[in-house]
Symmetry: C2
């Protein structure tokens, strides 16, 4: 199988590493077109698991050292999946909306948190980083295999499809503090670009929220702000023990 | 001035980029030994600010294109500070404790959040990533200039210096859920390594806390878990408006 360095317009992308590739074998097996193995990969137990999943799903495997030189700069990558990209459509419910995010790694980290806090549908307003770039997928730790991402050319296009969602744009000058805001389902948590945040007109959209922090920093890192918002808006939802207080 | 690629044992390190270097000029001017400027740097307003701060603090400046080839792989770095590393000692109060963190970028991101949430003292238990690596400093967005970091060979050494702090180790199987725990000052929020978490014996230390999330992911990314903990433990401290609820 001939692999080449990923480009945004390609129909396929790559899952780099054991963990990430396993997530695709489990979450989107029909999109895994092949699994590449480095000849020095020597973890028998993991290899057996991968081969079993490939057999069950009729996925060809190939031993190919050269592919890894092309696909990964990291020396510790021994397994890669060849993944068919798919257009995806968001389901109704709670959403994360990323407006013009610019960094692949950040987008992947947000996917990982989103999946952790039960947000499986992410809207991305373009121009934006690429949700299917191998760097995004790697930063997601494979969460990309379990979240849907739909791209929209404009926030209004997203809104037209989901007119009933309560909107919570996160802004440095948001009028309400996270923790004091009553978040009503279904809802959309909306985040702007790493450097520029959300355009000012979002202050007239829904309920603009700010995350309270001191003035020693200008802003929190984007995946961190988004994850704090997801944490707060889903608190108590994951079957934790009933309220308890340390004594 | 002859610059060379940073090594962990060097006495000096580098702040790469305008924002990061400005933070050192403002926060630790006496440790800035020189400021290097790329000949293509053409933002007059920013340059004037930098030159003024350098003049006020008797810091030499130098125009040097070659230095940037050595110091930075990023093409958009036009300003760098040469920074004297300093041994630092934690002050009493609330602390972040990082046990064997392995990634420079993560450590820097944690510094940025820590400064934002008012934690200016960070204990690092070795072996660990380097709090003074230019990658750490860059990821911190300059927060490194305003937080103190002290290295300890063992958690017990840290504990011996601050025996009165309430301890909250963050563990996947922590007995109390963040949000239900009564966090008493002065306190220490304790986080483990990216891949392995905290050693199991921390479950007998203070009040082990977990962050509630679904089972679709194994764990949150380390800077994200740490930032959520900082957010929750300082909620309402930063002069936000009084409790209000969206209508």
């Amino acid at each position: 199988m001939k692999v080449k360095r990923y480009k945004k317009d390609d129909d396929i992308t790559y899952s780099l590493g054991v963990t990430v590739t396993m997530e695709f074998l489990l979450g989107r097996p029909s999109d895994v077109k092949a699994v590449l193995l480095h000849p020095s990969f020597d973890s028998k137990e993991t290899l057996d698991k991968i081969l079993k999943l490939c057999r069950e799903n009729n996925i060809p495997t190939e031993i190919d050292a050269k592919a890894f030189n092309i696909l990964s700069q990291k020396e510790n990558c021994f397994v890669a999946g060849v993944i068919a990209k798919q257009p995806q459509t968001l389901r109704p419910g709670n959403h994360i909306v990323l407006v013009n995010p610019s960094n692949d790694g950040n987008m992947g980290t947000i996917m990982r948190s989103a999946l952790g806090f039960g947000f499986k549908d992410i809207a991305v307003i373009t121009p934006a980083a690429d949700p299917d770039d191998p760097k995004t997928i790697r930063a997601s730790m494979g969460a990309r295999a379990k979240v849907r991402v739909q791209m929209f050319g404009d926030f209004k296009d997203y809104r037209a499809v989901f007119p009933g969602n309560s909107l919570y744009p996160f802004m440095l000058d948001g009028s309400v503090m996270l923790g004091n805001v009553d978040i009503r389902e279904p809802f959309s948590l909306i985040f702007g670009n790493e450097a520029t945040g959300l355009p000012a007109w979002f202050s007239t959209v829904g309920t603009p929220v700010r995350i309270d922090h001191g003035h020693d920093i200008d802003s929190l890192n984007l995946p961190i702000a988004a994850s704090i918002a997801m944490y707060e808006s889903t608190k108590g939802k994951f079957g934790g023990m009933p309220a308890e207080v340390s004594s």
